[in-house]
Point group: C2
Chain length 269, copies 2
């Protein structure tokens, strides 16, 4: 748990604004393509060139600072997140929107770092209201390209790592507003819960292909929900080329705890 600058006052107008004000943003793209041998996971060749790099470039194109990381261990990832939070807390960096994108293997509740599976919830909770006060009331977007099938060893044994909800306060003159930990999170998944995600790294998986395309077509007035809905529509219609998978369909989706309308395109004429 890092520093808390909950004493920084946030004006009531921010709380009640109709849309997030995004003047600066950070997008972290994590591409894992070679894994610790003990995990017995297949490589994901081509993912860096065909998916991670074009994606980072796209976020850069709409005005986000981008960081691209490859084959990161759980510890590498946690260190990077700590560094980001520390830069925010020490005012070295100021961001209005954080986007974390992970291209890797996964199962129902976890995604794979280079060396081990990490719970999706624990990744997101790094930036929750109580763990990262600097991002309170700001959108935190997580995008996962990974399968979400139930593995035999996921489930009851691991369980749900419930962080006790502490008081997180945003001072606002005399009035104190407490913010739920889940507020302002958006999670975007390449596939529905319990399903496989197509991995076509030789020319980008359908979800990433369409996400990159729709980010390219996104105008300044396009809200991000509409962009994601168009991605859903494209992914739904994707037909795999292998006969063995011809009758399998993929459906991307998103889970929104956002509290304001979200427009990501910072580019202006």
């Amino acid at each position: 748990m890092t520093s808390r600058s909950t004493s920084g006052s946030i004006s009531g107008s921010v709380l009640d604004a109709e849309r997030y004000i995004i003047r600066s943003g950070l997008a972290v793209v994590i591409n894992n393509s070679e894994f610790d041998g003990r995990l017995r996971l297949p490589d994901r060749p081509g993912s860096l060139e065909n998916e991670a790099e074009p994606l980072a470039e796209r976020f850069n194109g709409i005005g986000f600072k981008t960081i691209l990381l490859t084959d990161v261990t759980k510890e590498n990832m946690e260190n990077k997140f700590s560094e980001i939070k520390s830069n925010l807390a020490r005012k070295i960096e100021q961001i209005d929107c954080l986007i974390i994108i992970m291209l890797t293997h996964g199962n129902a509740d976890s995604v794979y770092a280079q060396d081990q599976a990490v719970q999706v919830d624990s990744i997101m909770s790094c930036f929750s209201a109580e763990n990262c006060a600097e991002l309170i009331l700001k959108p935190k977007i997580f995008i996962f390209q990974a399968s979400r099938q139930l593995s035999p060893n996921s489930g009851a044994g691991i369980g749900y790592e419930k962080v006790e909800q502490e008081e997180v306060r945003v001072s606002e003159g005399v009035e104190v507003v407490r913010i739920p930990n889940e507020a302002d999170f958006l999670a975007v998944y390449s596939t529905a819960l319990g399903e496989k995600s197509f991995n076509q790294t030789e020319r980008a998986s359908p979800f990433l292909k369409h996400l990159i395309d729709e980010l390219k077509n996104m105008g300044v007035d396009d809200d991000f929900y509409s962009v994601l809905t168009r991605v859903n529509c494209q992914v739904m219609q994707f037909e795999p080329s292998h006969d063995a998978t011809k009758d399998i369909r993929q459906m991307s989706c998103f889970v929104s705890h956002l509290t304001k309308d979200l427009y990501l395109n910072m580019t202006h004429d």
Copy 2:
């Protein structure tokens, strides 16, 4: 499994349309307030007058046909769903959008019928592409006012009831489009996964109060994501009046597998 009229042709323009065309809709409000004694669940007095009735009235106000059911058993519910599907298949009824709202108790993966817990997934899959061909490419919205805390007896034992994905085809001239089962579903939850949901039936729970208010304020040009985002913003700021729960916060959320923009308000001047 009911009849399949997948032979009915759907034009390509419907598949690629930017928004769902909604000229008629059905909203089913299920309010469970007294439960089978063996379940040892508290009553939910006041919910009918303060929540279910105003909600049904609101959906009626924006042009939906509404059905209000109280204290339904699992069997009652399944029979009602079969009747709806049968009416659709026999062309007795034609609807462009189905909304099912459940006001009840719940836990992480289930909600309570009058007599037993029912998996949320199994409720939704009643209207999946393979189980209800008449609603393919049409939005299916599920709204749950219920807690989503992990109960000790939910989890591994119950597991995930995975229905094998069958071929669902929409004929479209010569071209055949297969639709994933999850497509065009929107699930709206009063609280985040793993969390309690405030139940203030003496004057409507915060989630339902704000949902009813925002449906009242919803204009013809307001897309439904924006409406739900405004509800999230209001629920986030709700402060419970009991001292014991003063530091607990609730965060509503929604899970979208929609493939087009959604505008629910059918009222026109």
